[in-house]
Amino acid sequence: MASASPPRRRTKREWILPTYTGLVIAYLLIPIVVMMLFGFNDYPGKFNFVWEGFTLEHYRNLFRIPELTQALRNSLVIAAITSVVATTLGTLIALALTRFSFRGRSSLNLFIFIPMATPEIVLGVSLLSMFVAVQFARGFLTVLIAHIMFSISYVVVTVKARTSGFDRSLEDAARDLGADGWTTFWTVTFPLILPGIAAGGLLAFVLSFDDYVVTAFNAGATITFPLWIYGASRFGIPAQVNVMATLIFLLGVAYVVISLLRERRRSAAPDPTGA
């Protein structure tokens, strides 16, 4: 346990950093607050930038704009598929990297890292170049391909963080008790690395849902949520966008709250893995 010093009054100087942190966090939230606020704005016409009055109508008529709804749906579907595929592929790689020692392992580590370090625009442009050269039409499928591509690395890194600190003795114990490799994996290993996989899946989902640049180059006629917003931003974004973004944000908040609660509950209970 950390040094159990008795609580003492903070001196004035020690308030500087926490206050600073608080201010920064507040600053970070300004656009979010604005976004949420204008989801309730009762604005005439097309331009939602002056506060006119409070209304819930945008919440009631959330799906009034068919193209926006379609774009949202596209984004959700693409993100879901991306998440599943990228997480699967990435987890496999992460497992291989941390549990085996094989030739090419460090090169593979580097290779996985490079897409994360490449500017999105280069990723988008290169994919477009290839699709154009082989005359593969851009659309839903190319967006999916692109999203899975850039998500894999992030999943690998996330899952690796969980699997590399993994205590093998648990697996050995299982095997000592007579379980074979497969069973060991599914009953012991997998549940323990599941949080890491889930985190990786969530990360892939968010990255895919949010993506603008790579998608813009490879979407053809398909419209995703960010693409629609970018197009509409020049003409006045309807408040429905604010509402949708607010709801998604609240989902994120809920996730954070739940995981924090779970962590608190877990730290109260004895931890078998010692992780």
Binding site: K46, F47, F49, R64, E67, V132, A133, V134, Q135, A137, G220, A221, G231, R234, F235, G236
Partner: protein, 406 residues
């Protein structure tokens, strides 16, 4: 490299060597058989109907019941989440219309269909609306279907005389006008503090950081050339260079805030812009009404008159359905209904009296507005874009790109 060579030339199988390309342009709108050309290039016959690309492609084809229509935003009448014109069309013809407002800029849109057109693949659109100069360019490249005017009686009957046989598309072989418009200046009276009357005002240092210009090369360059006292239709490359210098200075001095496609309306309304280049119909609604702060003017030195036209991309899947739409919107009552909402210049002169008799005052004001039905005096101040041949176009584009690319 050899394999890649094959892949690369596969991008445009019809145009392998440049000579072939020029030959095709020479044949151009005359309608030589594509299948014949392809055979000459040694490419096996395409899968789609080669006969349809012959001289009278559309007279024999049938209505398919579906129409994919690409257009600019706010370019068709809207009411209650739908469009009266489209709904009436669907009811009258039983054709299901997929109407998508995906065009925000001529070149950007052209970029999305250029590849399939160049390589003979089907384009997803049956009907598109692009500006006159692009019509001319696409027609020259063989990218547009030839129209069967026997299916367009309303056009023949109702279109104004100046819209028939325009220079960019002789005999309306490939297009018919959708709406015309004027490029001028829109300004916020409160923010400018004074009346704006000339293009030169766009270069006034007093409006530092509050001026908007357009990303459309022809609009911007031609308007500036006019402000230098030169007739755009006679402008030379030297004039273009002078215009470019003026624009560069405007940007470098910080007078210019941003270059806009058709998205200047929000910044103008929001107060980020005091004055900007604008298209007549976009702002008309805002200028009518007693409490309006926004005005649209045709500059003293002159404004531009352009025409956006309907055309059918080559290899479109439902070309005859497109023809039906073309014909439908030339009915006088439909044309009036559209213009009442769109506020651009209708190619159907007979729409004016219909609008003048409307019930609501807004529509009557629209009928009265010289921006929608230009007077002779107004017309004298309007000019057409200079016709640029491909070489000139590249030079002007290079000059202009230097300006907008910062």
């Amino acid at each position: 490299m050899n394999d890649f060579d094959r892949i690369m030339s596969g991008i445009s199988p019809r145009a392998v060597p440049r000579r072939e390309m020029l030959r095709r342009i020479g044949i151009g709108a005359g309608g030589a058989s594509m299948a014949g050309l392809l055979a000459a290039c040694g490419v096996e016959g395409e899968s789609e109907q080669p006969a349809a690309k012959g001289k009278d492609p559309l007279s024999t084809a049938k209505v398919a019941g579906e129409l994919n229509f690409a257009n600019w935003p706010a370019y068709i009448d809207k009411a209650k989440g739908g469009s009266p014109t489209l709904e009436q069309f669907e009811k009258a013809t039983d054709i299901d219309v997929q109407y998508k407002e995906v065009i925000n800029d001529n070149l950007s849109f052209y970029a999305t269909i250029r590849e399939p057109l160049a390589s003979g693949q089907p384009v997803q659109w049956d009907l598109i609306v692009v500006t006159d100069w692009l019509i001319g360019k696409m027609a020259d490249l063989g990218y547009l279907e030839e129209l069967d005017h026997s299916k367009l009686p309303n056009f023949t009957k109702n279109a104004g005389a100046i819209y028939k046989d325009p220079t960019y598309d002789p005999n309306n072989a490939h297009s018919v006008p959708w709406q015309s418009g004027i490029t001028g200046i829109a300004y916020n009276r409160e923010l400018t503090g004074r009346e704006i009357t000339k293009t030169e005002d766009l270069f006034d240092p007093a409006f530092e950081g509050q001026v908007g210009m357009m990303t459309e090369m022809r609009d911007t360059m031609n308007l500036v050339i006019l402000s230098m006292g030169i007739n755009p239709e006679e402008a030379t490359l030297e004039d273009a260079r002078a215009a470019q210098e003026k624009l560069l200075k405007q940007r470098e001095d910080g007078i210019l805030r941003q270059y806009y496609g058709n998205d200047y309306v929000q910044p103008l309304a929001q107060g980020d812009l005091a004055l900007c280049m604008a298209w007549s119909g976009d702002v008309l609604g805002k200028t009518l009404g007693s409490d309006s702060k926004v005005d649209f003017i045709v500059p003293e030195e002159g404004g531009m008159l352009w025409t956006d036209c309907m055309a059918i991309p080559q290899d479109a899947e439902h070309p005859v359905d497109a023809l039906e739409m073309m014909n439908f919107v030339y009915q006088t009552d439909v044309a009036a209904q559209m213009t009442a909402w769109i506020n651009y210049i209708s190619p159907v002169p007979a729409a004016k009296p219909i609008l003048a008799k409307a019930n609501d005052s807004y529509t009557r004001q629209v009928a009265d507005s010289p921006l929608v039905f230009p007077s002779k005096d107004m017309e004298s101040r309007l000019h057409s874009y200079k016709n640029l041949d491909p070489e000139e176009e590249e030079e002007w584009n290079d000059l202009f790109n230097e300006v907008i690319e910062g």
